[in-house]
Amino acid sequence: MMIEVENLSVRYGTAYAARDVSFSVARGESFGIVGESGSGKSTVLRALAGLNRDWTGTIRVGGETVTPARDRAFFRRVQMVFQDPYGSLHPRQTIDRALSEPLLVHGIKDIETRIAAALTEVALPPSTRFRYPHQLSGGQRQRVAIARALMAGPEVLLLDEPTSALDVSVQAEVLNLLSDLQEKRGLTYILVSHNLAVVSHLCARIGVMQGGEMVEQLTAEDLRAGRTKHPHTEALRRLSVELEETDAQHGKAA
């Protein structure tokens, strides 16, 4: 198992943002976490990434138990892509600088060739290299964020709603890029989203969260076929189907 989470709880004061969440993800697998806003899905991801140190329970990465404070070696194995590509890139740093930072921190050589290769890998033209984030589109920025996460060669990528801030047309491109990269590099993904379509596109297994608890885990196939056990899963599924239908109707009307 690449990632094992047991009884992970995060408390803010007396309220639980996440409570006794347990799941595991095999190497090279994609695990999706869905839920409404405030269901604790991003909280789980941030605790996993080491951005939030106030949690209890057990987290194992590659069989090793990790502590709330992470060392540099952890960050070579696990990286994260944020939801908002407008907020996740330093506004005063060129793309070149953003991509070279992980290499400088980890003391990795050949910065020049690695950056050029990384841009090619996420299908960005070399001309974007010395631009500032405000000179790029949302989709291009998210590609930069993905490239930055991959710079130090991680095994696990934590994806926090990586497409929800993007145009629908760009969403598909970024999702395809993510699945290509996974195939090529054998990455393990944990994808958090409120969009069932996005999650079932990328992930074979899905955990459903409600009110800080993971109420059900099921395969994407079961979800699509409607073989759900928990009422909240069914409610989310029905909502997503209805949205798709109204979208389709709007498409016809237009």
Binding site: M80, Q83, G87, D96
Partner: protein, 300 residues
Amino acid sequence: MTALSRREWLLTEAPESRRQAAWGRAYRGWLQFRRNKLAMAGLVTVIVLVLAAVFAPLLTLQDPSTQDLAGRLAPPSAQHWLGTDELGRDLYTRLLYGGRVTLGMVIAVVVLVAPVGLAVGTVAGYAGGLADRVLMRVTDIFLAFPRLILALAFVAALKPGVSSAVFAIALTAWPPYARLARAETLTIRNADFISAVRLTGASAGRIVLRHIAPLCVSSLIVRVTLDMSGIILTAAGLGFLGMGAQPPMPEWGTMIAATRGFILQQWWVPTIPGLAIFAASLAFNLLGDGLRDVLDPKRG
């Protein structure tokens, strides 16, 4: 390289090197700054004042301390362009040399104060917790006293002179910068781009120095430029009260203090250094306003 192609090189949308990207960014800022006429007037005045101070020996043939008691308090003439003071010293010469002292004090204060304020503010803001509380309470203690009074007390405790005046003004001037830098740091410390740097495994020092501080610098520069007039006035005020530069050293505030008794009969004697203080303060203020329009991200 022709002028046009250099402009194109700077304004290209696809720079080919780090250097080109940085210069292009600076050039865009300059183009924006240049549109502001008042700010340009401020910049030119500041440059002229600094150059006049630096090249004072070339701009005048007289010595700032040579006395001529027979020709004291003379009105402007061909020999003494701005007249003479109460000891018959050439006012124009003293004004130029006084600029060295006054502007030198201001620059020394800024060089001392800005890095300290930036360091205290960013560290307090990023570290949070106990470090933040301790650093901010210290800042509050310094802020609790009126600036000039505190500076006066420091100088009186040390010994009147230029270097203790600089030190005293610096001690009283850094807290607002620390506050400003801390406020800026608090707004960006939880931004995703800082989280992303933390996820590379970078040390806290590296994050503060390379990622947070550069974002605080621009608003700090603006604030410092706007405060320069205040620092000039404090420096001049200390000089006026006899706690700054000591005679016979020419300093604008001291020059006013020494000749204030002649304001009704020989009005130009104290007025001329006063005008110099006024011009320098106004120029720094205009420059700061212009810089704010260019550098402050919150204003577009």
